[in-house]
Symmetry: D2
Subunit: 410 residues, 4 copies
């Protein structure tokens, strides 16, 4: 499809210019979109219209433009194809590169709008074999054709669904002043349906899931089959393993809340235990690790990524200590994700949020309103829940059980 | 009992002065307490001891002091009786007035330690008919005998219980990093036992209880008999009544989360409805208000105080718009309270916290860590829970039901 | 002016119906506004237009409507006058009352749009002697004519200024991620100009102004003539007086940060000092209070309101302990205010925010992002600053001095 | 020095046993420390003492013990030397390993207390060539002698200084309720003195330093010579360079606060600019980067570490993407640090906090009270400041200039 913008000015209403333009386009099987339209309020005021004219192809567009120019329209701007420039060196962009949003994006290549693959926020687009692909700057190779910030780019933010649904709430301000249990019910219903449709739910979780006593709930969520992949860091895994092996989190008994004298050692002991066996998997196989989040991941073959952070103790052997490698590993598991559940981790949530197109649904649960705001700011389908994951997650699991139970009834 | 402090300095160990002092007190049936004791590390270093000598009465104390002065002790300070001074005018204190803590406090009147009644933080003590009574400055009358900040005052902070219990956690820093469900279980057990023992639990609640969807849970808590009095403000009552009458909170449907166009009117409509009938009680009697927190208060004859605030809309007829009157009304219901549950309200929680002796247990649940810290700072038995009341309260009620159920089994 | 809505459907473009309607209105000296306009994309699709027709008066409107109905428009809705109903009792509204926004509001009375006086959010409008006045529900008298939620009401939110100014930032999310010093400079310039124009700036301040060490800055702001009225509570005044008399805030020395043993007494001593003299004014006149916020208010005849709260100690004699009286006192000082500076007080800021029309500029400075969000949500001209008032206010005063100094130069 | 614990029970006071024990130790030139001491209140109650006896060496200790055993003391426990066990594999610890605190720690090796080098929290100690060295678990090599959690370990927390100083405030709760400007003045004085004494100040900074408009202040702090090393991440450097090159932060003009259409590209443009030249240093040398934090680091030869994080865009060529390498690089610059200034970054602050012994002074400035609490919890000399770095840092620099100016005066 080829397009061009035209403008009409003056007494275009009562002089019948505008109606004639519309009629001409209708007659020639063209299409149009009104971009701007201001009608003079009084007889003496001029009116103004800016219209996008769409032809089937370049030739058709020429015919349409010729016809309406005769009536009085002036051509403002023809939509031009994308401009490309080769990268001057590995990991270096031409100056006028285009920087992406996280919305579905189309590139006008040879008169055709082609969808860009793997769209992510704040990346660049290179065209390889005629296909536009979104890529981080650092992966651009010398000579790659990089899309410039000039023309031939169309961004299509997802439209809000007309029917009410749980993900329609991003308009409303993030605040703890929302009925938590109603959110839990809505989310449980949505997740139940997604699982039934075979859609992929990815969980991003921080160590507070364990501190706050929700690890049993997350383990159950995995066991119930709601989690396609777990993205996290060293701390969650260590805390979970500590809790499974010794019943403590940083040395505090998670049931009695007693602090063991010197119990902080448990944290390092848990790491040492995994190192001794070589991996979490072998710890499970050896029968030492018998419950918890990581255990359920291993047993149910749910893949996980543990990304390294500058704060890490240990770390566990599974931790990917190079952050760029860790990003790529996360990216791999986010492909095809329909919903990402972000639980009590600002660092990983923002990292993952940066890698997601706006069409993926996000639910971010955090007790810190700032964390929730940062996440929900970036997505059309983002639902922020300012709550305590230690109380929220057990409720979600319980509600999922209710939904499953009631759906099994005849 | 009469007391005096004595000091010993020098080579009191190897010169045998100290052992002789102890022996003399033993021989004369006196008692002592070692207040400070530093022993020289080397032969040439002096040692030092400060000892509180206790006699049965003034006469006995004199005998003890005389004896140990002979051995070499010097009298530092005799514990003197309290000093009193009449208030110069209504609501005005003598300059050197004593300002109270919230700990149990004793006054030495005529050689006897007498417990102060109604102790509260940052108040003053007046002695009326030989009885020390804690009172706000503004209630002091001209001529009242006010306790001065000089002598004869003993403050006894409650000792931490040796056995582990839920209220022993105030040492640990307030943080969301505690296992919420374990706290819920501990609190439910404690509340169950308190109810069984006929002990009084008072609830202080803010409007977020309704926003966050926990009003059904609080209503149930009242119905189950766990609440002796409800202390709150206009907003909670209005939101609750709006929610009961229209299913909304500030116009948002609490189940579907939809915002009604112009739904904010519901808030004023709820107030108008109560005003029309004259009181919440009459709204219940007329069959208009049929559920919710305020409904359960009326039906179960649980008294409530709605204190006015500068933010109030309306207000409801029950609201006490004079804050000093409201303080007094709250005070009345706090007498004999053994536990105060503070739910998502910094303003009222701090107000109530200021009126409580340190011997009353406090549980403060708030999503804002600052609110929780402010409350738990002030009490020996204060437990802070950084959580979402919308998720916490339903869990607490569910757990109380579990405890009741399991205790009914044979 | 009289108005009515008309609708046009069908092939109104190429059939020339729409252009003819416009032409007819032009010819008869009427006016119109296009409320909705959808043009069919293809020849077969219908188009649709909804247009507000405006006549000079009822008679003129009839002529216009008659003419365009002939062309094919159908009348959807005539704009009707306001509906009024007498209040059934003192403080009670008719069921279908209209609840106000904080935007400028007009009532269609006898064919004329009349501006409502004293508009505030969540109040009602009564018509007295032909004049619509916004009033709290509780002040409505039996028989007052209350505006109903039906017709004849027009709300005109203030338009965003086209030129960039400091108050244009409310679109951007509230966050600490704004350059504080740039905000300080913009605000100082704005305040300087307002003062020069004789416009009224009201300050709402919480006790954290004193805790955080900004009381000297606020005192200076008053002295420099930037404050028309100070709205606050008991705590700010007590802390300020404590700080002026003893150099402490709740017993902590504000310069050395040392905590005096028993220094918390200073708080009550400050209250007692005022009570002894009878008022803050007399304390100043007696030469006892010689600096600080309250001192500058007295000396510069800047009125202040101290509203009571349920948390209050004391209180000072000036405190208005009835919250409804306190609201009315605040309201009085807010009349004619052009800018309200809200400093570190959620309670009073929201109370004042509720009393302000949307045309008044608000700057809310608080270290708690939630407090800032709550305030800026409610106003077109609200600027939220997530900052530490203890660092912000001294910078603002310093910047105001810079602006004044540089403007004095020839 | 050799040590042993002895116990005395019974009527040790009036029977003169205790004084004789002390006298014997004095006579034989030994030393002692009283570990526990309870004196019977009445003649019939027993007394109890537990005393640590210290001899110059093993032989001397034997003499002392023999003598006091004669008098009636019973030996409870001799202080044993440290137990060591070889690591079973690289990066794997023996089960009963000792996990460190961040306090100065001594190991009893061959009867001598030897100070452990490079002490950090939650690490282990290995003895190499007779020297105990603190090391992360992952750096332990097979066969390394690891200190076990059994005996011969002494931890000596730094004592609070008796004289008042700015770092004595960690007792008081972290809260925004502290006078910011007084803290600024104290800190400026302390920093001035440290610089004069040639002591090392390390700055840890997050990107909010730039967002909040404090980058000019930090650049000046570096220029003035107060910063020995800068520890940060990719984001700070990119934001700073964006701000220096284009005057924006994430596309927002830091002076006018205008958001440029598409200005978010500036962020990637800044990264691309550095990549084009190969390094920040070359960007400075090429005359492209001419001001800001990174510029001042380069020009003043202040080393910096940019640690990678999972959230990073780009990253810049200087970023160390492996987090373990980054930790080691940071560790290198923290050696000899006397003060670490942590500015608005929870991630890096905690990472650095974990690497510091408790004897290093920490000042943590953050607008988020939780971040400040987490840091100040871990150190004896930690000062938490809940403030807006955008207002705090300019004030600190201004105050440092004042201090320098006034100290230059004759």
């Amino acid at each position: 499809m080829s397009e061009a913008e035209v403008e009409l000015r003056g007494h275009i209403i009562d002089s019948l210019i505008l109606p004639r333009v519309f009629a001409a386009i209708y007659d020639l099987d063209g299409e149009f979109e009104i971009l701007d339209f201001r009608i003079g309020r009084t007889k003496s005021e001029h009116s103004y219209a800016r219209i996008l004219i769409k032809g089937r192809d370049e030739r058709h567009l020429r015919v349409l433009l010729k016809e309406i120019q005769k009536i009085g329209a002036s051509i403002v701007k023809e939509v031009e194809g994308v401009k490309l420039m080769p990268a001057p060196a590995d990991g270096v962009l031409p100056d006028n590169f285009y920087s992406t949003t996280n919305h579905p994006t189309y590139i006008l290549l040879d008169g055709k709008w082609v969808k860009c693959e793997n769209i992510e926020m704040d990346k660049v687009i290179v065209v390889r074999n005629g296909v536009p692909v979104c890529t981080p700057m650092r992966k651009v190779k010398k000579g790659d054709l990089v899309v410039l910030n000039e023309s031939g780019i169309k961004v299509v933010p997802p439209e809000r669904s007309r029917k009410r649904e749980v993900f329609g709430f991003m308009e409303s301000d993030v605040s703890p002043e929302k009925p938590t249990m109603s959110l839990v019910k809505m989310l449980a219903n949505e997740m139940y349906l997604m699982k039934a449709r075979g859609e992929k739910i990815v969980v991003v979780a921080g160590p507070a899931v364990v501190h706050s006593g929700a690890s049993e709930a997350l383990a159950k969520l995995i066991k119930m089959g709601y989690v396609s992949a777990l993205l996290s860091g060293n701390a969650l895994a260590v805390h979970d393993i500590e809790s499974s092996l010794y019943g403590t989190s940083l040395g505090m008994n998670l049931e009695t809340l007693e602090n063991y004298e010197g119990g902080h050692r448990h944290h390092l002991m848990a790491i040492n235990e995994v190192r001794k066996y070589g991996s979490i998997k072998r710890l499970v196989e050896a029968g030492v690790l018998r419950k918890g989040i990581m255990y359920e991941c291993i047993v149910n073959q749910v893949p996980f990524v543990l990304a390294g952070s500058i704060r890490d103790d240990g770390p566990l052997p599974e931790v990917i200590t190079d952050v760029l490698e860790a990003q790529d590993a996360m990216r791999e598991h986010l492909k095809e994700a329909k919903l990402v559940l972000m639980l009590a981790t600002m660092l990983h949530s923002i990292a993952v949020g940066n890698m997601l197109p706006s069409t993926v649904k996000i639910v971010c649960v955090d007790i810190n309103p700032s964390a929730v705001t940062k996440l929900t700011d970036r997505g059309t389908y983002a639902l922020g829940v300012v709550s305590d994951v230690g109380a929220f997650l057990p409720q979600l699991v319980q509600e999922l059980e209710n939904v499953e139970r009631s759906s099994r009834k005849p």
